[in-house]
Symmetry: C2
Subunit: 486 residues, 2 copies
């Protein structure tokens, strides 16, 4: 397969600005009633509140979604910053052959059926067409571009992210994972600033997108799902340049032979040796991510990049068995320790807790205490000079056992007040973990309610498995922000 040489650039002004801030978008192959499984891109973008020009292109219609429909690209009046192509591979190529030179700045080739199924020759032609006609491409085999500020997106639920402040730049080679991560971010109250699904990366690459995000002041954290970096050296150099300024999270797919085989079928990837790549990434200062759960935990923590978990963690955790398990999970990780609280501190705590079913060393199990005392305990332990961050563990399932909504509301208010006041008083990075116990609708409802109420008061809430929180804390605590940007 032909790829661009290192010094060769496609003939468009530098940068990806028009890709993320298009003034006009055409959807070639748009339909007022998309078949099941097809994407209604223009509808999603309308729902986001996009204010630029939208052009459905389909010779069978004269109008759709309240918009004038055009028979082809040439008929559209004025330039098209982004053209979304969602048609079979060969037809997509044929349409671009007909495109007037200079008409389109970026083509998002949603369609699959290219190098990942050994039709690399079609990709070669796309590259030639791009050069000849002056457009650049993302994909093929990708979802597209999301930008909260430009109000562009590629899925139905993205409108829910439009008004949520976020500082994450999310780059996913996989379209499915791009969508899933964003949907789960919506559930967890994580803001996404910009996102792009890159697919086979015949033109715009992960490295180039990272470079763009590096310059973007709205983005403070870069997260990437990577199966294959087309130019390993450029990618690693980019990561190395960015990490002194912004954290870079890299989730690598295809780390086993079977996974690499699947990645080749998925996005035409030719991934190399996983261990060498992982070591190089670590040296470049990136944080390794292994799965969705870790990525979501890391993104939530990194919403406050100035308040990352440190190496000396205090855990406050009710329930003796759970204390043992979280002790094991967190203390087994490199870069993390649970410093034993001083005898003086333990003595002060002793006065606030019952005699039985408590643990005061760290983790602290406060036993059966009321909220006021719990707040005092968290503060007293959290203020110890040996401690540099605090994770308080609780769950929302107990709310089900309360007699009615009025009582529940009072309990939530008291809990939110206690936890958020302690968090403020301690003046250290502080997280609340809402441990998922039951997988039933009512529990999910109360988890969401408690999370929203705590986050409204500035307490970041984590979910997912506690052992994945331990891994993420460990990696963030060990993150090497290199001192010499170059």
């Amino acid at each position: 397969m032909m790829t661009l040489n290192k010094d060769e650039t496609l003939p468009v002004a530098a940068g990806l600005h028009e890709l993320f801030f298009p003034r006009s978008i055409a959807h070639i192959g748009a339909s007022p009633k998309p078949a099941p499984g097809r994407f209604a891109f223009l509808e999603y973008i309308q729902k986001m509140g996009y204010e630029g020009a939208l052009y459905p292109v389909n010779p069978s219609y004269r109008e759709m979604l309240g918009l004038v429909c055009f028979p082809d690209l040439a008929s559209i009046p004025g330039p098209v910053d982004m053209a979304i192509l969602a048609l079979p591979a060969a037809m997509s190529v044929a349409i671009l052959r007909q495109a007037p030179r200079g008409k389109v700045k970026f083509v998002v080739i949603h369609t699959s059926g290219f190098s990942e199924i050994d039709k690399g020759y079609l990709e070669d032609e796309l590259i030639e067409l791009g050069k000849a006609k002056g457009f650049r491409m993302i994909g093929p085999n990708c979802m597209g571009v999301f930008n909260r500020r430009a109000k562009i997106c590629f899925w139905n639920d993205h409108a829910e992210l439009a008004d949520r402040p976020g500082s994450v730049g999310w780059i996913s080679q996989s379209g499915g994972l791009a969508l899933t991560l964003m949907s789960r971010a919506i559930d967890l109250g994580i803001g996404i600033e910009k996102a792009v699904s890159l697919g086979n990366q015949i033109d715009v690459s992960i490295a180039e997108t990272m470079e763009y995000f590096a310059e973007d002041e709205a983005i403070r954290v870069i997260a990437a799902y990577v199966e294959d970096v087309k130019d390993g050296r450029r990618f690693l150099e980019t990561v190395r340049r960015i990490t002194p300024q912004k954290p870079v999270l890299v989730w690598k797919g295809g780390v086993t032979a079977v996974g690499r085989d699947a990645a080749r079928t998925h996005t035409g990837s030719m991934a190399g040796n996983a261990e060498i790549f992982a070591a190089a990434l670590r040296q470049a200062g990136a944080v390794r991510i292994d799965n969705h759960d870790q990525m979501l935990i890391a993104l939530k923590v990194l919403e406050r990049p100035d308040r990352l978990p440190g190496r000396n963690l205090l855990l406050v955790c009710p329930g003796g068995g759970m204390v043992v398990n979280v002790s094991d999970a967190f203390s087994a990780q490199p870069n993390l320790s649970l410093p034993r609280l001083s005898p003086e501190c333990q003595a002060r705590l002793q006065e606030m807790v019952p005699q039985e079913n408590v643990d005061l060393k760290n983790p602290v199990d406060p036993g059966a205490v009321g909220m006021t005392k719990l707040g005092k305990i968290i503060e007293t332990a959290g203020r110890e000079p040996d401690i540099d961050s605090v994770l308080t563990i609780g769950n929302a399932d107990f709310l089900q056992m309360l007699p009615n909504d009025q009582v529940r509301e009072l309990v939530i208010q008291e809990m939110v007040h206690t936890v958020s006041s302690s968090a403020k008083a301690i003046e250290k990075p502080f997280y609340f973990y809402i441990m998922p116990v039951h997988d039933d609708p009512v529990s999910a409802l109360y988890r969401r309610l408690l999370r929203q109420r705590l986050e409204d008061q500035g307490v970041p809430c984590l979910g997912g498995p506690y052992y994945e929180i331990a891994r993420v804390f460990s990696r963030l605590a060990g993150m090497q922000r290199r001192a010499d940007p170059q």
Copy 2:
């Protein structure tokens, strides 16, 4: 702390029969309105449908829960097979001092505040009292005993397990984890046959309970959460003797120094070197478990101990990115491989799938196909001689996107029919993984619905993180059923 010598036994007839099948139960310290955090044991047991004699004991009441209330143990007419003591430690000891000799067979000492807070001398007295008065004990610092058939239990939601066939014997040193695991088992449709929370184990130990469960024909799988085995040699010998007949799952808490410290505070445990213990357990044929999620996955799989996942797994998984991730997760585990499907098989599959967005090697990503074809694909690949078990991955979140309940019902019916028919046709161990995507009430509802419908048709459904499924499958595939029971 005094413990029993190896050859010394407490003066009660061998076996724990009356502990699991008590004909009469007294709750000393029962109250018609327990304070928050206190347990209403008799109420839970009534709710279970227990048919033996129930005796609340409390000098302040003459009646509660429709039962005659007695001022003390001595006033109860007839013998007491199980006495539940839920009073402060010193008071518990005082009450047992007053107990008539021979009156009580088993005492469940729910109360904490013994050796775990350096009051081992109270435990010494309990042991002396047991010998003198002829009772045996579980605890202190424990929850009690659950037995589906005898309809005894220790928590409010246990009644939901009463009519659910199950073959699990669950032994937990931690009371909190005993409860949590059982609650989650209820969510996931896992049946529990018997359970016991053992706490500080001053008398009845994990090993003795295992021996009892080993002889119990109703129990086919033994699962244990262990912080400390009081007699390591007896415990390991017991495990070694059982594993040729029944799988034994051991989740060990306190595997790190901090975790061991917490375990000492939790259940007075003096755990030894974790690696040596883990190696000895493996040699004895036990399956290692690291957390709740793994335990629940293993218990679900082991509901059919005759149909365990083998070493050669077929994964059917929609979505290219997810295929890469599950490939990595499963193929990185020892004892597991995903054999590449033969060219002939791939050619047959090729005729059933679209050209794009598919993968036919294993994992199989069937792309956008209808249900009928999906069934054919699963069967065709699953029947390959290289494959010995099948995991099909799906999710329930898409059900939200369907227009109404009628359509949803039709889709579920078709899906359940397809999956269960394929599972039957393949005649190999078959599991369906309902991947949790969203943590919201509606998704949780549809996960439960889909699970129930599939399980009604005999398809075991797994939940939790996919990477933990990979670990459990690996350990079950590697489980050494020793050939020579002795």
